[in-house]
């Protein structure tokens, strides 16, 4: 599998939290090439199951499908759309081109910005109430096309930086989706797996890990590994837990995760010489792993994180080698059970 190419395809898809269906067609098709039983549920989740002996343990590989976006809360008298954030870094929004998803249609727009003579203090970050989308229409016209609750995504290209690094507004968590697909790609040659596989591309992680809560209950796996992005060191970042780009997937150790699975992942990485880093956290993880662990009667869950720079900005940077290593770790984990 050509990881940068698939990642570019995934990052090009819509799917703000609550609007994941925009990514469904392509992701279902990609997933179906590895696993026969795939479907999208009513909550925006995509699930897939491998065939096999029902007595074998069920292992879930998970990444979230949604990406950060905004939601239209008002159409003002000038025809501009007021929006609410949902996780987007408001320091990066002004004068960005956006796409508004209005049912089957899309509308292009620009986030408005005040000119110098009206922006009195440019050292202050814009507030959410300062954010308005210019769709180039009067109020009456805008109201015919845009509805309150429509979702908005920042446009932004998928750029290849030097070597294996890439930049896009959507690597959180399309990098994780890509890693799961790569794990399946590595496993497709295996004659018989010791487990049955379940895959979940979950909705609404960015608004509170909601899709995974619903889907993990329905899937009821015996073991799970979630893959998300996490902070990487970069200029100005003073955060000891941050990983390093291109130095391997980060294996999470946290009170909320299964220590057995964490240790198993570390052992696999050592034995198979897969580059890895440790991400030790003091409570929960802020990822879907938290909701999967407490699904139904509890699920032993591990977390693999792909180091990422500039989280929740329109230029999130990851190293595709880290995605590859995350996929290899998951594949070896599945084989080891």
């Amino acid at each position: 599998m050509d990881i940068p190419k698939i990642l570019e395809q995934l990052c090009g898809l819509g799917g703000a939290s609550g609007g994941e269906e925009k990514a469904h067609e392509t992701v279902l098709k990609l997933l179906k090439s590895y696993i026969p039983n795939v479907k999208a549920d009513n909550f925006g989740n995509i699930t897939g199951f491998s065939e096999g002996d029902e007595k074998k343990p069920l292992v879930l590989l998970e990444a979230h499908l949604d990406r950060i976006g905004m939601i239209v809360t008002k159409i003002d008298e000038d025809g501009f759309l007021k929006v609410s954030g949902m996780g987007t870094d408001r320091r990066t929004l002004l004068a960005q081109s956006v796409t508004v998803y209005c049912g089957d249609k899309t509308v292009k727009g620009v986030i408005s910005t005040l000119p110098p003579h009206l922006s009195t203090d440019s050292s202050k970050a814009p507030k959410t109430e300062d954010i308005a989308v210019d769709v180039g229409m009067t109020k009456e016209k805008a109201e015919q096309i845009v509805s309150l609750g429509d979702l908005v995504l920042i446009d932004g290209r998928f750029s290849r930086l030097r070597d294996t690094r890439v930049c896009s507004p959507a690597t959180d968590d399309r990098a994780g989706v890509c890693a799961v697909l790569y794990a399946l790609d590595l496993l497709k040659e295996e004659k018989e797996l010791p487990v049955r596989l379940a895959v979940l591309f979950a909705a609404q992680e960015e608004v509170g890990c909601r899709g995974s809560k619903i889907a993990a209950f329905n899937i009821a796996p015996d073991y799970a590994v979630a893959v998300d992005v996490s902070f990487a060191q970069s200029k100005g970042v003073d955060y000891p837990q941050a990983g390093e780009l291109g130095k391997g997937a980060m294996i999470g150790i946290a009170p909320s995760l299964s220590r057995e699975i964490s240790q198993k992942l570390i052992k696999i990485a050592r034995d198979k010489e897969i580059p890895y880093q440790i991400e030790a956290m003091s409570g929960t993880t802020g990822t879907d792993a938290d909701s999967i662990t407490v699904a139904k009667g509890g699920v032993s869950t591990g977390l693999i994180s792909i180091p990422q720079r500039y989280m929740h900005t329109p230029c999130e940077v990851v190293d595709t080698e880290d995605i590859k290593w995350a996929g290899m770790l998951m594949a070896e984990f599945v084989k080891s059970i």
């Binding site: 007021k82 990066t92 002004l94 004068a95 003579h117 210019d134 932004g156 230029c315």
Partner: protein
């Protein structure tokens, strides 16, 4: 190429102040066959276009070729690039943008994620000096293979149409003016005109100062874009000027008190030919008029500008109808200005 397409094509090219060569070359390729041109030592492209007759007053028409952008000031040991803005760019439109270098290298304008900031840091807009460009290099040595100090970086993003006849994209300031000059040159003009595609406007109207000296006109018309603030929540005179209400003719900005006779003539002309025309409700900004009117012993100068939202950003916005109205007004003005006594 149709006017609108020319605007998009030129705006898609990269040329900050001092680095306008690609833009100038593209414009030369689009000049009509009967136009004579030269490039002066600063890089200004000066084009003589014959009209039906010689004007009583020598006419100079100006637009600038440069755009705002970024310049690499240092290559750091970790492989990131320190940079500064070329021209006035507000910090609001810098962090989180993707940029491109002329050699095809892409970069992210990088800062600390919101999650990792505390207290006041969360509500502060990072300054350009606190940001860096990440091109994916792991060390200074690696970065130097792609980028050198002094290289310029440009906003990425396509030019696009949206809403009811609006156009968005970088560098509409002032590639729109350049495209209008090319459009005027396609026509059979009533008078000989000298067109100056001027460099280095964004760092202090420098190119036009030199080209106005060499052209030595009696009268100049500057074709520009000017800040419109007809946006959400802004009322009354604070809107300054509005898209869709035609070209903007100012009486005064931060660089020029415009010639009163020409100011009046512009509005009279607009009225006669049935073109909507507006003035600004604030004394703000400036353009090449500031340099031209003081050059070569003094030049009577007027500016005809397209109202433009989000100037100096990755997404400037203009209205198509204003573009065509500006061409009409500029053409009619040339006819009247050429007959004025020098």
């Amino acid at each position: 190429m149709e006017l609108k397409e020319t605007v998009k094509y030129l705006a898609g090219l990269n040329g900050t102040s001092g680095d306008e060569k690609d833009v100038t070359e593209a414009i030369i390729a689009l000049l009509p066959k009967d136009a004579e041109y030269k490039i002066d030592p600063l890089g200004n492209l000066i084009v003589e276009k014959k009209g039906k007759t010689r004007p009583k007053s020598k006419l100079m028409i100006d637009a600038h070729t440069d755009e705002v952008g970024f310049i690499v000031t240092n290559i750091n040991s970790d492989g990131t690039l320190s940079f500064d803005a070329v021209g006035g760019i507000l910090p609001y439109v810098v962090f989180g943008r993707q940029v491109k270098f002329k050699n095809g290298v892409y970069g992210a304008i990088a800062g600390v994620p919101l999650h990792l900031l505390e207290g006041e840091g969360k509500d502060s807009q990072p300054k350009i000096f606190d940001l860096c460009i990440d091109i994916g290099a792991k060390s200074r040595e690696e970065a130097e293979k792609s980028v050198q100090q002094g290289d310029c970086a440009y906003f990425t993003g396509e030019q696009f149409d949206f809403g009811d006849g609006f156009m968005a994209g970088k560098a509409l300031d002032d590639r729109a003016g350049c495209a209008i000059m090319l459009e005027l040159m396609k026509k059979e003009l009533p008078y000989d005109c000298t067109f100056s595609f001027s460099v280095q406007e964004e760092i202090g109207t420098r190119g036009a100062a030199a080209s106005a000296f060499s052209i030595n006109p009696d009268i100049a018309v500057v074709l520009e874009t000017t800040t419109a603030c007809d946006i959400s929540g802004v009322k009354g005179e604070k809107r300054v000027c509005e898209l869709g209400k035609g070209p903007v003719v100012s009486y005064m900005d931060k660089g020029t008190v415009y010639n009163r006779q020409l100011y009046k003539l512009a509005f009279e002309t607009a009225k006669e030919i049935g073109v909507q025309c507006q003035t600004k409700t604030a004394v703000a900004g400036g353009n090449n008029s500031g340099a031209i009117h003081k050059a070569a012993g003094g030049v009577r100068t007027t500016a005809v500008s397209l109202p433009c939202r989000y100037l100096h950003s990755p997404c400037c916005v203009i209205k198509e109808s204003d573009l065509y109205e500006t061409v009409k007004l500029a053409e009619a003005l040339i006819e009247r200005l050429g007959s004025l006594e020098s």
